[in-house]
Structure formats: C-alpha cells, structure tokens
C-alpha cells in the first residue's frame, strides 16, 4: 500500500528528521515554482514562495492520499480556495508524485492540465475550482459534512488567503462549520498582508483576525507560516483538539511574500510580481544558497 500517512507515520523518525523532510519538500517546491514562473515570465511566484512551507507541511506531513490514485475515496481532501496559488499547489502535487515534474513546464500554456488558476476539471489532485474568492470554505463545509455523514474518517483541509476574509461567504461558512461541529475540518489562512490593490490593512482591515475566528467558535492558532516547526506544532495541536466535541480548526499563518529568495523578499510587494529575464538565475542561486546554509 502506497498510502502516504505521514503525520503519525513519521512520529518515530524524530522531530528534527520530520522537520527536515518538510523543509526539503518546501525547498524543492520553491524551485518548481521558479521554473514555472520563468516559463510565463511572470506569475504568482511571490505567493508560491511565501506559502511553500504551508503546502509542504500539508503534503509531506499531514495529508493522507495515494499518489497513483488521486481520486481514492479514503483520501483527505485538500481544497485550494485561492485559485491563483495553483502554481504553489502544482509544485506540491509534483513533489508529492501526483503530477509528473516534467509537466510543470506546461504551466499556464495552451492545452495544459495546469492552468494559471486551479480547476478541478483540469488537474489530478485538484479538488475544487477556486479563483472566485470565498468559495473554498463553503465547499469545504459541504465536503466535511458529506464525509462525516458517510462515516468517513477523512479530513478536509481548506487553504485560503487573508484577502478572502473580505468575502461574506467566508463568514457564512465559518458560522456553518461551528454550527455543525466540523472537527474534521482544518483551515489554513495565508496571511501575507497583501491583496490585489495593495496592503491588506489599506484595502480592508481584517484584523483582529484571530479574535474573529475565535468568536465564530473555532479552535484558533496563529503561527509564523514560514517556520516549519511552528506549522507542525500547530497541526499537532489540531490533532490534540480532536474528539467527539471537536471544533473546526484554523491555523493563521503569517508569511513573507517571496520567502526563500532574498531578491524577491526585498522587492516592493505586489500581487502579481514582475521578474526580469536575467533575474531567474539569481533567484535560483539565492534559493539554493539559503537552503544549503540552513541545512549545514
């Protein structure tokens, strides 16, 4: 059986080893993201780099799935609400063995299975068609209800962005998840504090974010979303909170746009980051140097 059940399966490997597996996964994801970005000459590379650790924690440590059978009934469901983060999701799907790594170079091209915005009808392992923001969480409520109704132990993880906190549907769903006691639902919010029109606090003030989720009846944690140790500890705390009276859980992840590539981390933040042709090589070199420095 090739089921990947990493969360508990890797418990015996030691905390340091567990963390290293996730960090390596994230590092490879970031290279994939840069490669995809270079194909298009632009794209949501900043978001992909910033959220890579979150995706890596999910796919390398938490999610139960079968790479060779992405529609396997017993899988956990990972919903990408922010469709434009597909570049990051594809990087994770490739690293997880669900999408061939060679296929990543078709990202955003005609007839590719990897469109710019993630869609369930195009890509194996893509559960929903995101993109119209504020959809993932309502769908996740139905998925979690449906799985529980049918006696499935599978979990639902919804990945969303802080920009989606502007959408009313997010809060309809937040109330619904609490009302229905969906302990099988975990939400990751990528708080990069950046939206299409600028910084989140200038577009729509969403803080205090943690208080809002807590007031909606959720189990709330806020972590550095670029710190794998904190992410794994948060997932462990979600597992601790499980039980017959379990609440839905949200892990609020503060992240840095462009994380892992100093050139991009320092650049003026933009929703759609422009990277010049000659800069891609520098980006890759900086990413590799950073990772080697960290693992020495």
């Amino acid at each position: 059986m090739t089921t990947t059940t990493t969360s508990t399966a890797t418990a015996g490997t030691g905390a340091a080893e567990r963390r290293r597996l996730v960090e390596d996964f994230a590092y490879r994801m970031r290279h994939h993201a840069l490669n995809m970005g270079e194909v298009q000459g632009q794209g949501y590379v900043g978001q992909a780099l910033g959220s890579a650790d979150m995706f890596a924690a999910v796919y390398a440590d938490q999610l139960v799935y079968r790479p060779e059978d992405p529609d396997w009934d017993g899988r956990d469901r990972f919903l990408l609400s922010t469709g434009h983060y597909a570049i990051g999701h594809y990087a994770a799907l490739a690293q997880a063995g669900i999408v061939p790594i060679e296929e990543l170079e078709t990202y955003g091209s005609d007839d590719s299975r990897l469109p710019m915005s993630g869609m369930s009808t195009y890509t194996p392992g893509m559960e929903i068609s995101g993109g119209s923001l504020g959809h993932g969480l309502p769908i996740a409520i139905g998925t979690a209800l449906g799985l529980r109704h049918q006696g499935s132990p599978s979990r639902v993880i919804n990945f969303m962005s802080d920009g989606e906190l502007d959408e009313g549907s997010t809060w309809e769903a937040a109330m619904g998840a609490h009302h229905h006691g969906l302990g099988n639902l975990t939400v990751l919010v990528d708080i990069n504090a950046l939206q299409a029109d600028g910084k989140t606090d200038t577009v729509m003030r969403t803080e205090p974010v943690a208080d809002k989720w807590a007031a909606s009846g959720w189990h709330v944690q806020r972590v550095d979303g670029n710190d794998v140790g904190q992410l794994l500890a948060a997932f462990d705390a979600v597992a601790q909170d499980a039980g017959p009276d379990a609440r839905p859980s949200v892990i609020l992840c503060d992240t840095r746009v462009g994380c892992g590539v100093p050139l991009l981390e320092e650049r003026e933040k933009a929703h759609f980051m422009r990277i010049e042709e000659h800069e891609w090589k520098t980006c890759r070199e900086q990413l590799t140097a950073g990772h080697e420095g960290a693992t020495k």
């Binding site: 769908i139 139905g142 009313g168 769903a173 109330m175």
Partner: protein
Amino acid sequence: MTTTPVKARLKTSAMIASFADPGQKTAPAPFGHALVKAAEENPAIVGLTADLGKYTDMHIFANAFPERFFQMGMAEQLLLGAAAGMAQTGLVPFASTYSVFAARRAYDFLALDAAEPNLNVNVVGGLPGLTTGYGPSHQATEDMAIFRGMPNLTIVDPCDSLDIEQAVPQLAASEGPTYLRLLRGNVPTVLDEYDYTFELGKAKVLRGGADVVFVSSGLMTMRALAAAKELAKHHVDVAVVHAPTIKPFDTETVLRELNTDRLAVTLENHSVVGGLFETVASAVVQSGVSKRVVPIALPDEFLQAGALPTLHDRYGLSVARIVEKVLGEL
C-alpha cells in the same frame, strides 16, 4: 368610532399566496413528498435549506429523514457551496431557498462550485416568477433569464403537483446541476386529466387545436388549458404544448407545432426577457422558420406588491387576460 363602508378589495400581499382556483383539486407539498419517496430508494439523497425549510416544503423531508437534512442558516452562498461539496463526496443534494436568492444572490456559487464541475446539485427555488404579492425582493421574475446562461444547468418549470412528483426522481437521477421552479403548499393537480407524463427534456402536446398553438411552461400551462376551454366558447380551437424543461429545450417538438399557419403564443410566469419566449424565439430563428410568435409574459419591470389575483390580472397572466389577448390577435 365610525365604520366607513368600502368597496371589497382583495387584500393580502402576504409572502405565501395560493394561485389555485377556488375548488380546484390540489395536492399538499408535492415536492416534499416526492423527495421523501425518492430518498427512500436512493440513500445518497440529502436535503439542505437556507432557513426556508417550512416555506419550500423541505420540512417534509427533514421530518422524514432528520439525519439526512442539513440546515445551513440564512446563508445562500454557503448553501450552494456546501451542496457542491456534498455532491463531491457522492451525495445527491437538494438545496432549497427562494428563487430570488438562488439566482441573484448565490449565482457564482452554483456556477463555479456545481455547474463548472457538472456536479449533481439540485437547486429548488420557491416563489418563481409572480407567485407572491410581496414585491420585487421576493418575486423572481428573471430567474430563468439569469440561469439560462449557465452552462450544464438543467432548468425545469413545472405546471402542477403531478409534474413536480414526476420530475423530482428524474432530477435526482440526471447528471449535473438542476434548477426546479418550485410550486409549494397545496399545489393544483391539472395534468392528470391529460395523457401526460413528465419526461426531463421533453415538451408534450396536451391538446390539439386548429386555430392557435400555445407553448407554455410552469403554472401558465394551467392557465393555457383553462384559456383554451374559454376560447372554445368563442369558436377558437387552441392547441397547448407544455414545455416544462426550459433547458435543454425540446426544440424539435416545439418547432414541429409552431411551423404551421396557426397563431403562435408563448405563455410563461416570467419576464418577457430571457425566459420561455426568447428560448422559443431563438429556436425559431436558428431553424430558419419564418414565424411570428406572440409572448404572454411578465413585463420587463419590477412588479408591484398586492394580492396575487390582482397582480396576475394586471400583468396579463390571468385566464381572462389571455383570452382577451388571443382574441385581439386573431
């Protein structure tokens, strides 16, 4: 205190008004009972509502299958998003709200979460067209116009209790999303007097006639049949074609009936924009048939509040107004 004698006025602009004629045969909550029956045979069927279970006959299902009923609160975006999520897990959800909220408020959620991935999500919309005197907030006069543009979506506008009873299991069995224009409460039973069964995607000739051909959907088929009887008294022989499936539309049957020398009239409980009339008109034009078609439909306006019989008469949906219109055209 003085009592002022006033002319008896039709009162009530209440939310729920009956459009059944006095003494007409009716069936209680045909949708709710049909859903229970379908659910007894198909364990995948579940019911959802957005705080309108009692008003969409979903409460019948909720009472019969409390563990298969999910209350989503007054949150229509959640309702349709969650229905899509449930369908992804293999369930067959029926999600009820008023048509105005499904069409105007939660369109994006039905479009992207259910229709684009072609999931078996069945939306049940109460108060379609002019079936409440409550005013524009609840009168879904343009729901079909809104929904007809949605790829993959099947749209059904049933006439009576028999149509609803027979449609529900077919909607559950059909792939992809559907929208049912619900008639709720004590719903007239009319079509049992004709050699008729509901078939998803099919229009049926209910009666023949040499002078006029009516093509109608929804409760206007009931009115069309009554108007045909009235017109017979004026020696006008009227055929009635019932087309409850608006999309995909049975172009073949309808064009066969229209492509004659008879006066062609469409009748619908919907705005003249974007509903049955324009569905028929586009089929006529695309086929190359040269034929004038007269619409009987609601005007392209936000309608007034008032008593339903008053409003049906005011906006041309009553039998008397249909008869008047047809006689004027002949």
